[in-house]
């Protein structure tokens, strides 16, 4: 086995026994990036020199007996997490040369645990997209089929984990942006409960929906990263002061007593590929065979989820992105006579088409005369969607569902039709609207060789039960997609 193929837990074991060093491990990952990333396009920035310095420091820590579960582990970060002194682009021309003067809280926590950051990964511009095709800077391809999208918006992180260009990564999820690329690339992705992980230093898209989470090669690694990044942060007033459990302690065999809800509306949804629903239904059987009890649940407002989301998220985005005015940081256009022209020219040249589309949509929904019909109505429907989950979690502990209606689609297939692209988010948006945790775990492979994910949803702050169910599935089913053949 090559060192870059290791997961976080396996590598930790070998580092602890001093069978490998972080320098060897990090070198192996950097060489892997050099060998294949010209084809995959996962990274926007590779921080080779800093990574090797971190690896040396980690090796010194290990020699002196100071070790955390992440000491010396090579990690990638979605390029909307601020990294002090390392450019953070958010996939946008607007921030192409932005060098944050501080670390995001999750980045500071990784550094405190002596993790090695190898680079920053590509994404849809400002995290707006489901395919990473909206990146203003680079194209990322699916390691399983280079003609297909890796999913999005955390497509670079997913592709990097899937093709062993890091041991684990962080992404962010506003409407499925961790879970959907994880599903398309055959890896494990977890969107925590809103407020579980600090958003300080995360470039904001839709502040009531955004959440940072782990993207990993297996479920146990997800639990390790959750331990590192979870918890209250005084710098994020929406982070919740709930105690953080020890997530790996949930990874125990057997699901006796666990009640699993199957939402009929999700399996009856238009456009659900029979191969996807087949793989998910087989996964449900496997989970049942581990002792869980299945029951039908209903989420009757599912048919309103996409419409509510595509009013609320663009509304919040139109407000959040007002800060890009060419004054404090980021791009400033040169051709202007006065300050208004500077704003307009800067924003029109700095933002790509999808970002402008969503700013217009959000501004429209919030503008005088339309606010009640759109934003207020969508916010009321959001309440109904939350109540659906509240009722369902009265009878079950987790809900199982597909992640995406189809496996990864071809690059270019949906890029000219925003509505069709939005509709593909049907199964992931509700977790963000309701603030609940959701997880994607690989459950099968399509006839064309593309990974399929199973989604596990839980009630607020119940990430532990998600990890337990996903872990039991993984123990029984293995890792269905295996690894992509990269020809090196």
């Amino acid at each position: 086995m090559k060192l870059y193929e290791l997961g976080i837990g396996e590598a930790h074991g070998l580092l602890k026994k001093k069978e490998i060093s972080s320098r060897e491990l990090t070198r192996s990952v950097l060489d892997r990036i050099a060998a294949i990333d010209d084809r995959v396009g996962a990274y926007l920035t590779v921080t080779e020199t800093a990574a090797m310095h971190s690896a040396e420091r980690a090796d010194r820590s290990i020699r002196s007996g100071q070790m955390t579960p992440l000491t010396g582990i090579p990690m990638a970060l979605k390029d909307l997490l601020c990294t002090q002194g390392v450019r953070t682009t958010c996939g946008s021309r607007m921030l192409e040369n932005f060098i944050p003067p501080y670390d995001a809280t999750v980045v500071a926590r990784l550094k405190q645990q002596d993790a090695v950051i190898v680079g920053k990964t590509n994404m849809d511009e400002f995290a707006m997209g489901s395919s990473t095709e909206n990146s203003g800077l680079k194209r990322t391809r699916n390691p399983w089929n280079l003609e297909c999208i890796p999913g999005g918006s955390s497509g670079g992180s997913a592709a990097a984990v899937a093709s062993d260009m890091c041991l684990g990564a962080l992404g962010s999820d506003t409407g499925g942006s961790i879970r959907q690329p994880a599903s398309h690339c055959g890896i494990v992705g977890l969107k925590p409960t809103y407020g579980r992980v600090s958003r300080f230093g995360l470039v904001a898209f839709a502040s009531s929906l955004d959440q940072i989470g782990p993207m990993t090669k297996n479920v146990a690694d997800s639990a390790v990263l959750m331990n590192c990044i979870s918890g209250h942060d005084p710098k994020d007033s929406t982070s919740v002061p709930e105690p953080v459990p020890d997530y790996p302690s949930f990874l125990t065999e057997g699901l006796e007593g666990v009640r699993v809800g199957i939402p009929r509306e999700y399996f009856e949804a238009e456009g659900l590929d029979p191969e996807v629903s087949g793989a998910v239904r087989r996964a449900v059987k496997v989970i049942e065979s581990r002792g869980a009890a299945c029951l039908d649940v209903s989420l009757p407002h599912t048919r309103f989820v996409v419409a509510a989301y595509y009013i609320i998220a663009p509304s919040e985005a139109s407000s959040n992105l007002a800060r890009y005015d060419g004054v404090k940081y980021g791009y400033r256009a040169g051709d202007h006579q006065d300050y208004l022209e500077m704003y307009r020219s800067t924003r029109s040249k700095g933002f790509g088409p999808e970002v402008q589309r969503r700013i217009i949509l959000g501004t429209y929904a919030l503008s005088a005369g339309y606010y009640d019909a759109y934003y207020r109505k969508a916010s009321q429907v959001r309440t109904l969607i939350m109540e659906d989950f509240k009722a369902a979690f009265g009878t079950c502990d987790v809900i199982l569902a597909p992640v995406a209606p189809t496996p990864a689609f071809a690059i270019g297939e949906k890029i000219d039709d925003p509505l069709t692209m939005y509709l593909s988010d049907i199964f992931t948006l509700s977790a963000n609207l309701a603030g609940i945790p959701g997880m994607s775990v690989p459950c099968g492979v399509s006839s064309s060789g593309l990974p399929i994910g199973l989604q596990v949803l839980g009630n607020h702050f119940n990430e532990g039960i998600l990890l337990k169910v996903a872990y039991n599935f993984e123990q029984a089913a293995g890792h269905p997609p295996g690894r992509p053949e990269m020809g090196v």
Partner: protein, 95 residues
Amino acid sequence: MKIPKEDIIHVAGLARLEMDDAAVEAFSEQLGKVLEYVETLNRADTQGVAPTTHAIFLNNAFREDIQGEHLDRESALSNAPEKEDGSFLVPRVVG
């Protein structure tokens, strides 16, 4: 359904965006389709339903009023497109 072009131009102005005719045309068509789809919300019965703007219940997050660590002026200005004498430099705002 298309959104009238004047509406797109008006909203673009509010959002401080400028766009050429082709972009106005494309947005009027694409956003028209999105808003037509969004009309499905009208089938949801929301009478008496309170709006949700935040999924997790939190009271105000108070803290002690003690000065903490903050960015120094140099760091805060480090990404400014134009700066002068420790300040952001902008085009003339007042005539």
